[in-house]
């Protein structure tokens, strides 16, 4: 971790690749946070598993807040149950609440799995939730009970992204069983990407004729159809049987440069079951996507399907066409660390200078990862992890960027500066279709590129006195 976390300094760690940044004061408070809390990430993961219901052990208020937040992005139903601590459970423990909660969820939803994440309250008490969950599962052995998975997600030690990865690891560690026969599939562990990204990844794997298990898969559960008959737990999600067989997979591919050193699901599968882990950056931009496709090519042992090569070729063609509009422009990117790394990689390719790469996360690997993907940024690239939107806004005033790339929370800054915001990532609650934004692969990069160029063109048009209609 790159920040000083002594009791009174929760300071913004400012790191600079090439040049010292302008000195700004560091702050005690987090002022307009650029991160959400851990159980939210875990809830998303559980929602992406077939027949599963997310469950928070702690106060009901946290579950309600997270539901409203996830719903405002996806515009889809999102149920998160809670054990609903009262003051006395806060003091004497919430074991009874947990048991009753699990029973009630089972009766209402008949889920195949309940994913139990913890809130700060029960973590502060120091409840042994893992043991409680285990006991519950054992006590119900003769009854039709759902599979339980527990993950510890104290938000005072991690962000929503940490909660997400921790949940993926827990699911795998709980469910994966040694396979007598190796299966030929590949485990795809994409991290916190959009529903459209997940659908596209499945399509790519299919084109390589690789059977795959994508974990989690909320491409349908959080982007579902209008229905005739309502489904309590929406169809779709990673099949539990598939997760069980993860131990026998041919390989795992896990995205996220910032988590390469961490004990993730892919790391677990490799160290426990010897499943080869390919730990790549989020495939955004040509170089990062090339690495992904090369890996697939090796695993599948067949050439890259022609239609994907053609997408790559069209993408390069458009880089050439759009170069004159983007070259030398200055952008601020912010959000989840790995998304920021991917975007920096793309920007470096197209000649936009990522003048500031910011995240509320604190993996400690952000600076290094950006240096890897954007080694020759022609200007100053300032990297700030563990930062917040007021700090980003203050820096933005000095850096005078041409555009912002990130989630809806940066809108205020873009508005103040009078520059465009290209919306990516999570949360997007001031536009429709956040879950359908494609970020990954040649196709996602194409869409991002087009949107970036068009945002700049639109801005130029709007601020022009002449009002060209031919640009």
């Amino acid at each position: 971790m790159s920040a000083d976390t002594s009791a009174v300094t929760n300071m913004t760690a400012s790191l600079n690749i090439l040049q010292k940044p302008a000195a700004l004061p560091s702050y005690v408070s987090t002022r307009n946070a650029c991160k959400l809390c851990a159980p939210l990430g875990a809830s998303l993961v559980f929602r992406g598993i077939e027949g599963a219901v997310p469950f928070l052990h702690g106060s009901q208020g946290c579950a309600t807040y997270m539901r409203r937040y996830i719903i405002s992005h996806f515009r889809e139903p999102m149920d998160i149950a809670a054990s609903g601590f009262s003051e006395s459970s806060a003091i004497f423990g919430g074991g009874e609440n947990l048991r009753r909660g699990l029973q009630n969820v089972t009766a209402q939803y008949k889920p195949s799995m309940i994913g139990v994440a913890t809130t700060c309250l029960c973590e502060t008490i120091g409840e042994d939730v893992a043991a409680m969950v285990r006991e519950y599962q054992e006590a119900q052995i003769d009854l039709p009970t759902p599979q339980l998975v527990h993950v510890s997600t104290p938000s005072y030690s991690g962000t929503h992204v940490d909660g997400f990865h921790a949940a993926v690891r827990s699911v795998v560690a709980t469910l994966a069983t040694p396979e007598p026969e190796p299966s030929h599939h590949v485990n795809l562990l994409p991290g916190m990407v959009s529903a459209a990204d997940i659908r596209y990844l499945k399509e790519i794997a299919e084109d390589f004729e690789l059977s795959s298990i994508v974990l989690p898969d909320y491409s349908e559960t959080l982007d579902g159809p209008a229905l005739d008959a309502y489904e309590k737990i929406p169809a779709g999600g990673t099949p539990i049987q598939g997760i069980r067989s993860a131990a026998g997979a041919r390989a795992s591919i896990e995205f996220g440069r910032s988590i390469r050193q961490r004990d993730t699901a892919a790391a677990f599968l490799e160290s426990t079951f010897g499943v080869r882990a390919h730990r790549l950056g989020l495939p955004i931009g040509i170089n990062e996507t090339d690495r992904f496709f090369s890996t697939l090519k090796d695993i599948a042992d067949r050439p890259v399907p022609r239609q994907h090569e053609m997408e790559r070729e069209r993408l390069i063609d458009s880089y050439v066409d759009g170069h004159k509009y983007v070259f030398g422009k200055r952008a601020i990117v912010y959000g989840e660390e790995d998304l920021v790394v991917g975007l920096a990689a793309l920007l470096a390719e197209i000649g936009i200078i990522p003048v500031l790469c910011a995240s509320g996360g604190k993996s400690g690997a952000l600076r290094q990862s950006i240096a890897e993907v954007a080694p020759s940024s022609p200007g100053v690239t300032e990297v700030c992890d563990y930062t917040d939107f007021m700090s980003i806004g203050e820096k933005a005033k000095l850096l005078k960027p041409d555009l912002l790339i990130g989630n809806s929370k940066g809108y205020g800054i873009a508005r103040d500066l009078g520059i465009p915001l290209v919306r990516v990532g999570f949360p997007i609650h001031d536009r429709i279709g956040g879950q359908r934004i494609l970020h990954l692969g040649y196709r996602g990069t194409q869409q991002l590129f087009d949107r970036i160029v068009n945002a700049l063109l639109e801005h130029k048009q709007q601020t022009s006195e002449i009002g060209y209609s031919y640009m």
Partner: protein, 540 residues
């Protein structure tokens, strides 16, 4: 809609384990108005069972999000880990208009001590102090409010001592709220906590005197979608001086000055009745229940105010305003009725909106088939007359009841005893609230703290034309082919208050209940009747 509400109730709770089913059965009633005006008893303001997907939030949400959040120049600092603060950041869509661009508006900020493991283990008071000092240095606010979230209560940080100390050190008002989410059973606990602290730390600090004849405060109006702007305008046109609103479009000084008003108007009874009562006891300001949602309700409310002040000139002005507004309302009503008459609505939201908005639907000729509050109490359903019979359970006991006495110098009774007696007409709801149920048709379902499962069953059985709730329910309801109107955020529409708001609402609902999109769910080839089997070749 030939459903027997009693049967529906039975069916709805059948799926639950026994204990839970029994509890839910007490929170679901079928309305029936007795000859003496009595309604059936409902169980409300009790803890949601674990594992039930409830609409409810926590005390912190009610305190910071609902009551204090809308005021623009009290700077809020949330003491706790980051999530609680982030989730309450600008999500309630309260609007505010500072008098000028240079006046403070802190609504767009979300400050948090963002506690780390270190502070959870060793205590966070030091960090909180530093955060308050820092916020003061950056923003120079008149007042800073500190909100505790769950873990803080548990590790035992004394936020009130920190507030006192910083108040002394900085020379501005600093006060704290012990609104940890595990207190009480819903947002409602947080409303009470917010009322208490505002009353203790803010009310009565500003002695600015007013010459105006008719001075009022508006309590429990949070200016979602610009409702407060509409109401303010009506007051202005009637010659009524609004001193403070709690807390839509409000500022600190006006709240501190609110004890100088001669009447308190209570809009959302649930969230603010404590304040009305405490101000009456301490300063002698009477209160009236009013409702500015619905054109007829607005007219009635204005007339009630005029009646209270009993002034011919005011009464005349009020009638003029009503006469100016009603023709437009009538035209709009007539228009939408042609398409909406007889359609049905369900409302499950909040602690007063599920009642107030019934008026608007009825004005459109629509029928209410089921309603309930998310965090109401029995008095919000059955009327304040049941207050003495409400049992206080462990969850409510831990919320402070302030003992209030008349202020030695500033208690001024506004009305004589005879005048008070004259105002006791139940129609006037003078210091009273009749509640939701007495105003509903017999045989209607009333469900407290409706669960996700019950919502689904209800919709399947009744297929209402529209369902009113919040964003958490919206998309689930719409998956079932029923439009859902958000009555927390108004779906980014509004205002819906007053005459102008009523017209907006009619149009919006008309558009929603007559939406055609669901007829497209099946593609043409999916709806085609199966091809008839080729006729068998006749054998001879």
């Amino acid at each position: 809609m030939a459903h027997d509400a009693h049967e529906v109730k039975k069916e709805m709770v059948a799926i639950y384990p026994k204990k839970l089913g029994k509890k839910r059965a007490e929170q679901i009633v079928v309305t029936e108005l007795g000859p003496d005006g009595s309604v059936p008893e409902i169980k409300a303001n009790v803890r949601s069972s674990p594992g039930i997907i409830t609409q409810r939030g926590c005390a912190y949400a009610g305190c910071k999000g609902v009551v204090i959040g809308p005021s623009r120049d009290i700077l809020s600092i949330v003491h706790g880990p980051i999530g609680c603060s982030f989730y309450a950041w600008l999500t309630r869509r309260n609007q505010t208009r500072p008098p000028s661009d240079s006046d403070p508006n802190f609504i767009t900020y979300c400050l948090s001590t963002d506690m780390t493991e270190q502070e959870i283990v060793f205590g966070g008071e030091k960090k909180l102090k530093a955060a308050i000092k820092e916020a003061y240095d950056v923003f120079h606010p008149k007042a800073i409010a500190v909100f505790s979230t769950c873990p803080v209560g548990l590790i035992g940080d004394d936020v009130h001592a920190v507030a006192r100390q910083m108040k002394e050190e900085l020379g501005i008002n600093v006060f704290a709220f012990s609104c940890e989410g595990y207190r009480g059973v819903s947002q409602s606990a947080g409303h009470h906590i917010a009322n208490n602290q505002l009353f203790k730390h803010v009310i009565g600090l500003n002695e600015l005197a007013h010459e105006d004849k008719f001075t009022i405060n508006l309590l429990g109006e949070y200016n979602i979608g610009g409702d407060a702007f509409v109401i303010e305008d009506l007051f202005r046109r009637c010659g009524i001086k609004l001193i403070a609103t709690f807390s839509g479009n409000s500022d600190y000084d006006s709240m501190a000055n609110s004890h100088t008003a001669d009447l308190n108007l209570v809009m959302c009874h649930r969230s603010i009745n404590y304040m009305a009562e405490m101000m009456e006891k301490k300063f002698g300001i009477p209160w009236l229940k009013i409702n500015f949602i619905g054109a007829a309700a607005t007219a009635k409310s204005l007339r009630k105010i005029a009646e209270y002040f009993d002034d011919a000139e005011l009464k005349a002005k009020v009638e003029t305003v009503i006469a100016e507004e009603m023709p437009k309302v009538d035209v709009a009503q007539k228009d939408v009725k042609s398409r909406c008459q007889g359609k049905t609505a369900m409302l499950f939201v909040g602690g007063s909106r599920a009642h107030h908005y019934q008026v608007l639907f009825k004005e459109m000729g629509m029928e209410i088939v089921a309603a309930g509050y998310e965090f109401g109490h029995r008095d919000d359903y059955e009327g304040r007359k049941v207050l003495p019979t409400i049992k206080v359970d462990a969850d409510s006991k831990n919320i402070e009841e302030i003992e209030v006495r008349p202020d030695e110098t500033r208690y001024v009774p506004r009305l004589s005893q005879e005048r008070k007696a004259q105002l006791a007409d139940p129609e006037l709801e003078f210091q009273d609230y009749v509640g939701m149920m007495p105003e509903m048709e017999d045989g209607t379902l009333v469900i407290d703290d409706i669960s996700h499962h019950e919502t689904e069953r209800l919709i399947e059985l009744y297929k209402p034309s529209i369902f009113c709730a919040g964003i958490k329910e919206k998309y689930a309801v719409q998956k079932m082919g029923i439009p859902c109107k958000q009555l927390h955020s108004y779906d980014y529409g509004g205002p819906y208050a007053g005459f102008e708001g009523a017209i907006n609402f009619y149009r919006e609902i008309d558009r929603m209940v007559n939406m055609k999109v669901w007829s497209l769910v099946k593609a043409p080839w999916q709806t085609l009747a199966p091809q008839p089997e080729p006729a068998p070749v006749a054998a001879d």
